[in-house]
């Protein structure tokens, strides 16, 4: 299926500002939503609109069925069991859930270590920072000069005190695709630390097999993969999840409740307290269906072409510096750059003002990573399968005009 056919499914792409179409290059922040997703959400509110796991009337049963289907489809997507799929609000909440549950279990003690990397999104950094209050030490894997994880440094920093290693599959800034299986192998050779993967930028763009990857937990969000906002996933190995205490307490996560004590529901409901984001579940099903229709191979190929086009275009421009690995096989569908002498926000705002080109500027929720490259922030263009060659050309042309005018 080519991009121009697929684009018709995205109503936002029909939108025009000042007579010009939108050029959406901020997919790493959130993706656009196709009609089937939008219609599914609307269907829930207009035809079903009941709560799940509560009543026995047909509307509630229908909603519950769909909610279960959402879990099953998600599990199938990443080769997991449905009990291993916990729905949260987003990847950030998924990682927080894990952190709090581990803390509550008493998993960490003073002197323990947690190993992270220097290319993490805040959602996979800030929650772990809270463990420092318990006396846990945070260590960080360095980056190589070409912006990949230094695996030698990773090995060096693993110790018998390392209780948990958490790293990103695809960096949301540099676009580096980390070799997860190789990293997991290295960790398991030296340590029995828990392995957590931030898959927020990988699940939307490539086929993920939780079993093959060998991680213990992984987190992602639906809104970056054509789905609605407000729904995220925490995958966790069943045995580990069974061992963890709940994060939130209340309705649905219980099996029985007395005045002075309660027992917990089975997985995954133990970790899904309260009324969930049911309509998002409807949308999530359609998002997964749509992604399967497009095909991850096609998605990967399209994004690689767009990145190559962008890199060639930016290379020809004055004063532009690109950050990221040169190896396109390890470079996801995004490009991070700066223009010497022009503030990143001026670039982004001008791109938007001139030709409705939406990019991200600043620290991109990864302040340590970005500020180590440019303390004022950088610009990122991030792609998905519905972006076209023409859009990239418009982006490069407009950027060239901005550089010529403002320099």
């Amino acid at each position: 299926m080519n991009a121009s056919q697929l684009r018709k499914d995205f109503p936002v792409l029909e939108k025009k500002f000042n007579g010009k179409p939108v050029v959406y290059l901020d997919n790493a922040a959130t993706s656009l939503k196709p009609l089937p997703v939008i219609q599914a959400i609307q269907k829930y509110y207009s035809e079903e609109s009941a709560n799940v796991h509560r009543a026995s009337h047909k509307m509630s049963l229908a909603a519950t069925q769909k909610w279960l289907e959402a879990h099953e489809k998600t599990a199938k997507l990443i080769n997991a069991r449905k009990e291993e799929i916990i729905f949260t609000r987003n990847a950030t909440e998924s990682i927080n859930l894990l952190m709090y549950s581990l803390k509550e279990k008493g998993f960490f003690s003073k002197g323990d270590e947690v190993l992270l990397t220097k290319m993490e999104h805040h959602s996979n950094l800030v929650p772990w920072q809270q463990l420092q209050k318990l006396g846990v030490k945070l260590n960080f894997v360095e980056l190589t000069p070409d912006f990949r994880l230094d695996l030698n440094d990773l090995e060096k920093k693993l110790s018998d005190k390392t209780k948990l290693v958490s790293f990103t599959h695809v960096a949301n800034t540099l676009g580096t695709i980390n070799p997860v299986q190789e990293i997991v192998k290295t960790i398991k050779k030296k340590s029995d630390a828990l392995i957590v993967l931030d898959a927020a930028q990988s699940v939307p763009h490539m086929k993920i097999d939780s079993k093959k990857l060998g991680v213990d937990f992984l987190a992602f969000s639906f809104h970056k993969m054509l789905g609605p906002t407000g729904l995220g996933v925490l995958f966790g190995r069943k045995d580990l999840l069974n061992d963890l205490p709940p994060f939130l307490f209340g309705g649905d996560m219980i099996q029985s409740v007395a005045l002075d004590k309660s027992t917990w529901n089975e997985l995954p409901w133990k970790f899904e307290a309260g009324t969930p984001h049911i309509s998002a579940g409807y949308g999530a099903i359609e998002a997964i269906n749509y992604l399967k229709k497009v095909g991850f191979d096609s998605i990967g190929a399209t994004e690689r072409k767009l990145v190559e086009l962008t890199l060639n275009g930016l290379q020809a421009l004055d004063k532009v510096k690109v950050y990221g690995t040169d190896d396109l096989k390890q470079h996801a569908g995004m490009v991070l750059f700066e223009v010497k002498g022009i503030d990143c926000h001026d670039i982004a705002l001008s791109l938007d003002e001139l030709n409705n080109i939406a990019v991200r500027s600043g620290f991109m929720c990864a302040e340590p990573t970005i500020s180590s490259l440019n303390r004022d922030g950088l610009v990122r263009a991030s792609y998905y399968f519905y972006n076209t060659r023409e859009e990239i050309e418009a982006f490069i042309e407009t950027l060239e005009k901005i550089i010529k005018t403002f320099s």
Partner: protein
Amino acid sequence: MICLIALVVFGILGIFSATHRQYAKEAFDCVFRRMTLRKCQTGFDQRMKAKITGKLMNKNQRIAGFVFKHFELISWLFTLSLFLSIGYSAYSVYNLAVFGNCEGQVYSFCAFNPETYGFLFFPPNPESIKPMSFDGAKTTGNPDSKLKILEVGCFSCPFTRQAYPLVKQLMQEYDGKIYFGFKHMPLPSHAYSMDYAEAAECASKQGKFWEFFDAAFTRPINCSEQTTQPDFRQEIQLIVKDLNIDLPVFNQCLESHESKQFIESQQKEAVNAGVYGTPTFFINGRVLVAPKSIDEFKTIIDEELRK
């Protein structure tokens, strides 16, 4: 500083448009943060910069580039201009409230009077005023005196009124040494200025000009209190009632406006000479505009007497 200008502009536009109200709120937040020495968090200032330079880029890239590079300076200049124009407007409103006209003590720039806009760039200069002759002036004193003082004034003007005691003091101190004359320059911005001048001419026809002159400038009244013609008429009757003149003839003279042409000719003569405010004094041809103290007169008078 763009936020400050944006606050004023969008604040006014926001009265009529809901879209602009949101911008006004953001501008206010930005200004408040900058005033409390914090960074503007909404990015409003950067967005405005991008909007302005973006629009310019579509028209002229060079100008857009210039504006972009010097945006902060240009914002400061606009902000300064904003404050200056607010200041000038406030000054004019103050003059209007206190003096009854917005030109203030000296006929100069006034935001509410388009005739004075030229003064913003070319402030009035007494040295540019050409001497006026005594021809047609109402005179008193010895025409052979060494000191010849001609006043160009307006009966409605509070500054001509303020100069009256100085004129009286001069006439007393230099008794017999001054040949004093008066010519009309009724200012349009002063209420009933032409009517007062006509009344003075009508009194003059009965030989009572200087009596009218004294009575008009010593009556304890502000010309801005005359809000209607009947009030003015009443005021004139009160001025002339003790002048021992034939009132029906005087009133007939007023009704007929027979002196108007004569007064307008003196007004035109003053304008052509470059007189820009009242009172303007010519002391042996040397110009003194709206003096505030007797010393200003004496400086010139003493020099002339030494010649």
